[in-house]
Amino acid sequence: MNAKTRRLVTASLVAVTTTAVLAGCGGADGGSGSEGGVLKLWTHNAGNAAEYDVVEKVVNDFNASQTTYKVEIEAFPQGSYNDAVVASSSSKKLPCILDVDGPNVPNWAWGGYLAPLELSGGEVPLDDQLPSTVGKYQDKVYAFGFYDVALTMFARKSVLDENGIRIPTPEQPWTRAEFASALADLKASGKFEYPLEMGTGGSGEWWPYAYSPQLQSFGGDLVDRDDYKTAEGALNGPEALDWAKWFRSLVTDGYMAQKSGASPNDDFLNGKSAIEWDGSWSAAKNVEKLGDDLLILPPVDFGKGPKIGGASWQWAMSSNCAKPEGARAFLEFTRKTKYFTEFAKAVGTIPATDAAAAQIPGYEPGGRYEPLVRAARDFAVVRPVTPAYPFISSVFEKTAKDIVAGADPDSALGEAVKQIDANLKMNNFYAD
């Protein structure tokens, strides 16, 4: 992208919303982060003190360990982080080191924001990590994360026992039929207006993250992953249609709210719902409130095995970093089991390596949270590895919302495929 286009795009950000905010975002002393051995590091953790503290600790340790480079942190609120990165890339002001949400890695790598990592050192080899925590695009590693999160179903043991429902295991998860009859029984018990809490009140990336794994378990997908050139067959085939009808039937059968409340996890804890589809981030709170009565269950097997989404925040290096060897030295330095452990502990996430998991109470084999580790290892599917992902994600969110609201599944999925295919074609299948 030449300088003129960059300027055009930067200014167009302003044109679309006629706000001035973004134009200034990347301007303030972004720099290439390399004068006098200073490396800038951007993180999305401005509103997340627990994780920020660990980032700060890692950076302080690195700065104390050598004298050549000095890493400086700049933290952004998560909500405006991506906008800040996109705006500053347009004006060539990206920092040397930045974090990136897993599914965005291909888009940013394709857009020329990120440089391949080519790490050589570090205590922990990349191969030791959960596959979903390594951000790859076109066979090159662009990012790695210290943790992942996992989707899971929470339920109360007492409620399942009372209704004579079998407790599923990772080896023997609920089948589609079992799940349907469990929901019917729970609904019939009369104690729950909506026995299933799926978090349908959320928006944004939650929709593809939470519901595309169910689509995949039915046998469909967001896009044909063979060559990422069409969504035809994947998103509108018979399996996808089956998923869409099932998803809508949860609403028409009265099992799930079309739009759930603002705090679905509290609703579950307060006994408003019997089964909650949620993430590992709620596990600690649920255990604290419900103790031994809490069940951490594997996802339902709708035919192609249980599935959950993979990939969370990861660290990467920008392509316009003037001191790539410095950025590489920092990233290699961070690859120590103790940091993997500390991140997971601080945020309550699943550590990316088994060695770290063994050191965190509850995440060791046989521990309270082991089902989450197993799910991340055995059931995780990364979101489609294509620069088109942000577009696909946005289309899927809208389509799934329409389906839940009662749109004709056939035409809704057909329109989604049409839009995704048009976008892929218009961008020359993101081949450049």
């Binding site: 030449n2 003129k4 286009t5 795009v9 950000l13 679309v16 888009n107 079309q258 942000p390 809208k398």
Partner: protein, 311 residues
């Protein structure tokens, strides 16, 4: 030499020099005072609008390794086939068609009420104005709660009808969602235009009302032949400002429904933002903005024409 010139001429000349001087200084001051506003308008309005016009004919993306190239009318051809865009145009017009008369009418009613002199006028003025000074995001979040299936609004409906009528799930039902947003927007915006109407009402000379009351006319006749004609200029202003504000509907939709359910609340501006940011299609979003600009321009010009001075 100087002595040869008569005194009066010399005086006049000196006078005109100082006058020209003063005028020049005034001119500089005027430019200096206008400069900040003009500069800001240029940078944040004129240039972005110009860029949007250009970008709409290119393949520009928010994130892309390749430079944008000229693609002619491709984006507009895609717009014409995009069902969500067409629905957005329709929703935007429906919203404006409902909000403009209702909000202007409610605001005028409120203004007439509080224009009367009685105790507590200031209290009511403040009450009606509070929603205006509240952030639209906050208002939208609060109303999302009010509109819930078991929210306050439905509880009131239930209580008033002794449980005979069960209110709908306002924002999640395609048949009520846009109406719910219209109602909330009118509630939020009416206070502002009430103030404008009020200012207009107070410019009407009191002797006209006196004359009317001496003639013994009814209240309706007085409103029809004194108040209404006296509000001519105010009327135009209120009409055009509400129309433009209604066309740019975005915040409520973004916070409350994200365009759903089933596209029942999607609007032009919402689609422009969604395409431009979430979907990274800068050029496509620019095309939407361009269409939006032209539509608003046409409607504003039509309104100007219809409300022009006819004599």
């Amino acid at each position: 030499m100087t002595a040869a010139v008569p005194l009066r001429v010399r005086l006049r000349r000196a006078h005109s020099i100082t006058q020209a001087d003063a005028r020049r200084r005034e001119g500089i001051a005027a430019v200096a005072m206008a400069a900040p506003a003009v500069l800001l308008l240029l940078v944040f309005v004129v240039i972005p609008i110009g860029l949007a016009f250009v970008l709409a004919f290119t393949s520009a993306r928010l994130v892309s390794p390749t430079p944008a190239r000229f693609v002619g009318l491709r984006n507009f051809a895609m717009l014409a086939e995009d069902p969500v865009f067409l629905r957005s145009v329709l929703n935007t017009f429906v919203f404006a068609a409902l909000v403009v008369p209702v909000q202007a009418g409610v605001a005028l009613g409120l203004a007439l009420l509080i224009n009367a002199r009685f105790r507590g006028t200031n209290f009511f003025r403040t009450v009606y104005f509070i929603p205006v000074v509240t952030s639209m995001v906050v208002v939208s979040i609060v109303w999302t709660l009010l509109y819930q299936k078991d929210g306050l609004l439905n509880r009131i409906i239930e209580a008033v009808t002794f449980g005979q009528v069960e209110g709908p799930d306002w924002l999640n039902d395609p048949s009520t969602s846009l109406a719910a947003i219209v109602f909330m927007s009118v509630w939020q915006g009416a206070g502002f235009h009430m103030i404008i109407w009020l200012a207009g009402l107070q410019t009407i000379p009191a002797d006209l009302y006196e004359a009317a009351s001496i003639d013994g006319v009814s209240r309706w006749t007085r409103f029809r032949y004194v108040t209404w004609p006296g509000l001519r200029a105010t009327r135009t202003f209120v009409l055009i400002t509400i129309t433009i504000a209604a066309f740019s509907l975005f915040t409520q939709v973004n916070v409350m429904t994200q365009g759903g359910p089933l596209d029942s609340t999607t609007t032009l501006v919402y689609q422009a933002v969604r395409s431009g940011y979430q979907q990274q299609q800068t050029a496509y979003a620019s095309a939407i903005s361009l269409v939006f600009f032209v539509l608003v321009l046409i409607v504003s010009l039509a309104q100007r024409y219809l409300t022009r001075e006819k004599d």
